[in-house]
Symmetry: C2
Subunit: 323 residues, 2 copies
Amino acid sequence: MRRPWQGQVEKPPQENVPRCDLSNPLCPGAVRANGEVNPQYMNTFVFDNDFPALQPDAPEPDACNHPLFRAASARGVCKVMCFHPWSDLTLPLMSLAEIRAVIDKWVELTVELGASYPWVQIFENKGAMMGCSNPHPHCQVWASNFLPNEAQLEDRTQRQHLQERGVPLLLEYARLEAQRKERLVVENADWLVVVPYWAVWPFQTLLLPRRHVCRLQELSDSEKDSLASIMKRLLTKYDNLFEVSFPYSMGWHGAPTGPRLGADCGHWQLHAHYYPPLLRSAAVRKFMVGYEMLAQAQRDLTPEQAAERLRALPEEHYRVRPR
Amino acid sequence: MRRPWQGQVEKPPQENVPRCDLSNPLCPGAVRANGEVNPQYMNTFVFDNDFPALQPDAPEPDACNHPLFRAASARGVCKVMCFHPWSDLTLPLMSLAEIRAVIDKWVELTVELGASYPWVQIFENKGAMMGCSNPHPHCQVWASNFLPNEAQLEDRTQRQHLQERGVPLLLEYARLEAQRKERLVVENADWLVVVPYWAVWPFQTLLLPRRHVCRLQELSDSEKDSLASIMKRLLTKYDNLFEVSFPYSMGWHGAPTGPRLGADCGHWQLHAHYYPPLLRSAAVRKFMVGYEMLAQAQRDLTPEQAAERLRALPEEHYRVRPR
Ligand SMILES: O=P(O)(O)O[C@H]1O[C@H](CO)[C@@H](O)[C@H](O)[C@H]1O
Ligand SMILES: O=P(O)(O)O[C@H]1O[C@H](CO)[C@@H](O)[C@H](O)[C@H]1O
């Protein structure tokens, strides 16, 4: 962390984003690439991605004739979900009721798409640094006819842990972190956020329920309210860290759905990962490059240092705080 | 690939890098952070990284008392290796003899550090986009007292393949790709470069020997010459793709060393990975973000399309070509 930095500096995010801009395809009333006009939506709004990576009718690949050349079709749907009608807001600047509406829509989409698809990936890319090309607050939901790699890995390791220790991995982990406190960032009666012991991104966090929950749709009303609250607190701290709208990719992992809705999911614990790229300031990020790609991740600061810095930050957003 | 791009655009690399700049710590005659003066080196030059991520005397972590909280010390050394005395050169613009000097130094370092360390990771981060903070042509060599994750994975999968099919994985793979040709980029009598079947970065490539070679030090003189040649051809094509000094991270993987120098390494095949970030132009990169981090990689173009584009490019560098 003490080495001089003469490398790439990141541009600050666009300031003064117009609240409503009819040339922005995510705004109420705007025309999208396919010619449809967005409704004058009041809270969230979901539509099919006009440039989907997954399609329901993807063709079967040619039959493979060698074990080293195996392929299978990947089918699914890609949806975009706007969080709010205004383009100049982000989650931490939204009210608890508005964040709650986002959570309700996440639950609804998980139920709807999870009725047939085995995996429903909700994720948010926030900030240009994270490949986001539109400042309007939104996330994506990609449902697939297969368990993606990360899902398979989490399924396997959680199953193994339950077999070996008789308690779900992330439930045991959350209890230990709640006691140890050194990697804790924020907590409330139902949830906690830690910089995980195995974090590789500088300010990576893991959002965990305190009780055993397999999927978003199992959350009670009050758990959804307390989730809105802890999200707002975490994301406010993130923005306050470098006094910038904090870029990240985040997403939810819960038990597989579709054909696996009826199967035993006792080993699964619902959780959200936050992967933010910034390291030293709003302008200097962590690069996951050479050694990280070819050998293994190495950290520039410890999870305990990261957690301590995040814990110490105020829970009032720097943009609304009286100076 | 057809979706409109309104996201982050990358800055072109610095133009007119001065050939020699005494304030650049990689130049001959410059003073480094530790006060040492670099010699007037003529081809390559190796020194200890003044800000090492690995150190030979890293302390043991506190004894862990829980299976979910396991830690071990990571010991090693980090070296920096300059490719050439001039800051305004890159490998594809160097002569074959100069590239051969780089290869010879790689061999020397693998032997020297591999005498005691089980893993010697040679890697080059090229371009600001890949976290490189100095335009002077150079790579890094990190040796560790453990097998990093990627090395462990390659060790395991190659061992399993040899057991199951009686031939080293990457030797069988190279033979098949040499026949199929659709993912081939360049080849010569000793080497071939393919966009691997499993590529995730748009123009990712894999450099493979045709015969079974475990480690860099097993290469014959003529194989080192033909390696210099194929590297120059590949990297020239890379630069020609978007007419820009092409950013990438690359690195070598060979059989483990140190205590495993005497062990059977019949399953291992030496190879180099190239991971370039650019997707559509010198300004628009691939972002490995939300879905990629949380679910799995998804490609914007197929390996066959990428290989075809690279194959079609001239082997004369755009900067030295008469227009
Ligand atoms: O050692 P450098 O070139 O300063 O640092 C670069 O390479 C390292 C190894 O891949 C990365 O950990 C750093 O994030 C990157 O900026
Ligand atoms: O779908 P978007 O937001 O245009 O695209 C973004 O997210 C995708 C899913 O993580 C990535 O594959 C793209 O590289 C990134 O730019």
